[in-house]
């Protein structure tokens, strides 16, 4: 079920009303049923995969807590292999078959299966639980229902934020009373999330798709427009989803972590990764980078660790070389920046002009790197980049941007500046009533009149 669907607009109020009508001890059952229904609306049979993840990690958690030494490690490995195995089978099998074909001529068939929506998110979230239990930071959950809700919790199950059990588990167990402020804050976030997804991302999507279909048909100016459009589209798409997820959870009294903090205003790659998809960055930092030795290793190993973690994070997004290159390039720029910044004195680093320049350079580089994320293959990515820097007359088309779309982008930009270092709901809560209501009306009218006429699935659902 999509957040931007009539189905969800009907489903969510019913769940909310029932949630507050039920006694606390029964709510986990409601959330379990609601989450199962929510996921089943995408494709019913795949709910069994989620149930399998829940059962495996629930029992692994209990066994890891009870056992010691090698047996304990065995159950952790069992959990990791089960989760990564599922992920590999559904997501990476065909990719590995292609690699296999490079070395061995024998023909193996590709799997003709649908990738379960959000599989990478559930497996990573569930894995974080067993790893934390193994490390002794988390007690194993005895209640299967609460654990199931941790993996299944419908607002964040298909595209995060990837939460730790120590935070989401606690939130799910807490007794939530009906509070007006939760409802109003949640609704504000949902409204803004819908605006960002439907008015920004869904309006930019046709433009980007049109360009990527035949990049060589466009002038280089159009190529640049398409590149920046995708940069904003992917941000708006994922940020919009996360904002709705956080808003929906907030209405139920459950706090989810912020996944974005205006990443395109970041003045460096380092800052960008502190503001973009924060929950995934945190996951990779805690469960891959630190176990590899983190920063407490020699320089050569540190460089290797950084590049590996970024490449893996790219590979997490999709089974294609382009995603690995995307991750690797981020790692490379991160390292270059670290190397360069060392030579600047502290006074320059704090300078506003330096930060402004840094933000622009970072945004342009991030935008260029997104090409590898968006293009279907490496050749296409190179073709697109080539088109940006080709000033010939053999191309004939221009991308057209409507006045309405420009207006939406301006509103989005202004709101993002206004809520810099805060959140939309907090910002509105503290503003004057007239200003607040003007904001609501603008967003609602924009949604009614200017939301994308063609709906596009959230990009991150495919991961």
């Amino acid at each position: 079920m999509l957040f931007n669907s009539l189905h969800f607009l009907l489903f969510f109020p019913i769940v909310t009303i029932l949630f507050y009508l039920l006694k606390h001890k029964w709510r986990w059952i409601l959330l379990f049923i609601a989450s199962t229904y929510f996921y089943s609306a995408f494709y019913l049979p795949y709910i069994l995969i989620l149930y399998a993840i829940i059962i495996v990690d629930y029992f692994c958690g209990l066994l890891i807590e009870k056992r010691q030494g090698k047996v304990k490690l065995f159950w952790l490995l069992f959990s990791i292999i089960s989760n990564i195995g599922l992920l590999t089978y559904f997501k990476y099998f065909n990719f590995f078959i292609d690699i296999f074909h490079v070395f061995v001529p024998q023909k193996l068939h590709h799997l003709d299966i649908l990738l379960p929506i959000g599989l990478s998110f559930h497996t990573f979230q569930s894995l974080s639980y067993t790893i934390e239990v193994y490390k002794g930071n988390q007690k194993a959950e005895k209640h299967l229902g609460y654990f199931a809700n941790y993996v299944l919790f419908f607002p964040q199950m298909v595209a995060g934020p990837i939460e730790k059990y120590s935070t989401l588990g606690k939130e799910l167990r807490a007794k939530h009373k009906f509070k007006y402020k939760n409802i109003s804050n949640g609704l504000r976030l949902i409204l803004y999330g819908l605006f960002v997804k439907m008015c920004i991302a869904d309006n930019l999507a046709p433009l980007v798709n049109e360009f990527y279909l035949n990049p060589t048909h466009y002038y280089s100016s159009s190529a640049w427009i398409a590149l920046f459009a995708f940069s904003i589209q992917i941000y708006a798409d994922f940020y919009g989803y996360s904002t709705i997820a956080i808003g929906a959870a907030a209405i139920l009294g459950i706090n989810l972590m912020d996944n974005f903090k205006q990443p395109y205003f970041a003045s460096s790659f380092y800052q960008f990764w502190q503001k973009w998809h924060i929950s995934l960055t945190t996951w990779f930092r805690n469960y891959v980078f630190f176990p590899l030795g983190g920063s407490y290793v020699n320089a050569f190993r540190w460089v290797f660790n950084i590049l590996l973690v970024f490449s893996l994070s790219g590979f997490w997004h999709g089974a294609n070389y382009t995603f690995i290159i995307w991750g690797f390039l981020h790692g490379l720029f991160y390292l270059l920046e670290k190397g360069l910044v060392k030579f600047y004195p502290e006074t320059i680093k704090q300078n506003v002009v330096f930060k402004f320049l840094g933000a622009n350079i970072t945004f342009i580089l991030v935008t260029l790197i997104w090409v590898f994320f968006r293009a279907e293959n490496f050749d296409k990515a190179i073709l697109v980049l080539n088109q940006c820097f080709t000033y010939g007359f053999d191309s004939s088309l221009n991308l057209k941007i409507s006045f309405e779309l420009i207006s939406m982008l301006v509103i989005f930009f202004l709101i993002e500046i206004a809520i810099f270092n805060t959140r939309f709901d907090y910002f509105l809560k503290n503003s004057h009533v007239i200003f607040r209501w003007t904001g609501y009306i603008i967003l609602i009218i924009s949604l009614l009149l200017f939301s994308g006429i063609q709906s596009f699935q959230f990009i991150y659902f495919q991961f």
Partner: protein
């Protein structure tokens, strides 16, 4: 809770007011461009024709597609128009089906000049390949635009995915499921009970062409005929049946004379490429449709086998595209029911 209730009491009327105002601006500035953007142009077509036509002919591409060799490019509806004293106009668009016709007929004004409607009854459209077609999302989207609702509601429905917008992968999966699980109405002795079994047997040579030859292009086409025409129509679940049933009741409500035009299929090729089992299935489906709608008092023009195999434009595909001879035969057949 009280605070929320009071707020809602104030907000709801404000919301309704905003909605109506927005609707006004939407219709004035964006409605038609939106309809054009999602290829829902029949909205204009019907609007412009219903006051200058006696008969409206609702059709997919069968109506207007002409062969390169045709000297007369008239569509079926134009041929009927020229042969009849009545003014006949077409509301047609490629790949659409009964769901679109239904929405458009709902939109017909009660004081419109139109007294008779002819709706193409395309038996192929009852099959799984058409029901699960990749074009279905776009058609479903356009159908929202054709619904007789307040324009702003249609806009909201479109923005919030209020239509069948399944992914292509899911549609393919549903199609494959039908092909491999739906039992065909074939004799007990016939070894292939599902489309998938029959298609595989044809493809790998177990089931030979009726003349016993091994001819790859013909086998490919035969497989295509099996996948397109071998299906039973379940009157309780088939979405097209539901749409046509609704067309019947809406027409009665609107006092319109309803004619279903059962389109010609290439039965000759089905027979020569696959054999009598497939032809039997095609006939069963045809008869089911004729009987069902005769019983409802609808005039069903049976053009199922009146077009010669060579008069189908697409010789290596299954379509209802006819050359001028075929179109004329169909037009004359319909004409009998108009007089």
């Amino acid at each position: 809770m009280k605070k929320l209730f009071y707020k809602l009491c104030i907000l709801l009327p404000v919301f309704v007011f905003c909605l109506l105002t927005t609707n006004y601006f939407y219709v004035k500035y964006y409605y038609w461009s939106n309809a054009e953007a999602i290829d829902a142009k029949l909205l204009f077509t019907q609007d412009s024709l219903e006051n200058c036509s006696d008969v409206l002919y609702y059709a997919e591409s069968s109506n207007a597609t002409a062969a390169n060799t045709d000297t007369c490019l008239q569509s079926i509806s134009q041929m009927i128009d020229s042969l009849s004293p009545l003014k006949v106009n077409a509301v047609d668009h490629g790949a659409i089906h009964a769901r679109t016709f239904l929405q458009l007929i709902k939109n017909l004004k009660t004081d419109s000049k139109v007294k008779t409607i002819i709706v193409t009854l395309n038996s192929r459209s009852f099959g799984s390949p058409w029901i699960n077609s990749h074009l279905e999302t776009n058609i479903a989207q356009a159908n929202v635009m054709y619904e007789p609702n307040l324009p702003i509601f249609k806009r909201i429905k479109l923005s919030f995915n209020g239509y069948d917008n399944k992914s292509i992968q899911l549609r393919d999966q549903d199609l494959e499921k039908d092909w491999s699980s739906v039992k065909l109405n074939v004799p007990e002795s016939f070894p292939y009970k599902t489309v998938r079994q029959w298609d595989n047997a044809m493809a790998n040579g177990t089931y030979l062409l009726p003349n016993g030859e091994w001819d790859m292009p013909k086998i490919t086409l035969a497989c295509h005929y099996i996948k397109t025409y071998a299906f039973p129509i379940d009157v309780n679940t088939n979405p097209r049946i539901q749409d046509f049933d609704e067309i019947v009741s809406i027409s009665k409500q609107k006092n319109l004379k309803l004619i279903f035009h059962l389109l010609a299929e290439n039965v000759q090729y089905a027979d020569s490429l696959v054999g009598k089992e497939l032809v039997n299935i095609m006939h069963q489906n045809k008869q089911l449709l004729i009987d069902r709608y005769h019983k409802d008092g609808v005039a069903v023009v049976n053009s199922f086998e009146i077009v010669n195999g060579l008069d189908f434009i697409d010789q290596d595909w299954t379509t209802e595209h006819y050359n001028q001879t075929g179109r004329l035969a169909l037009a004359k057949n319909v004409l009998k029911y108009l007089q």
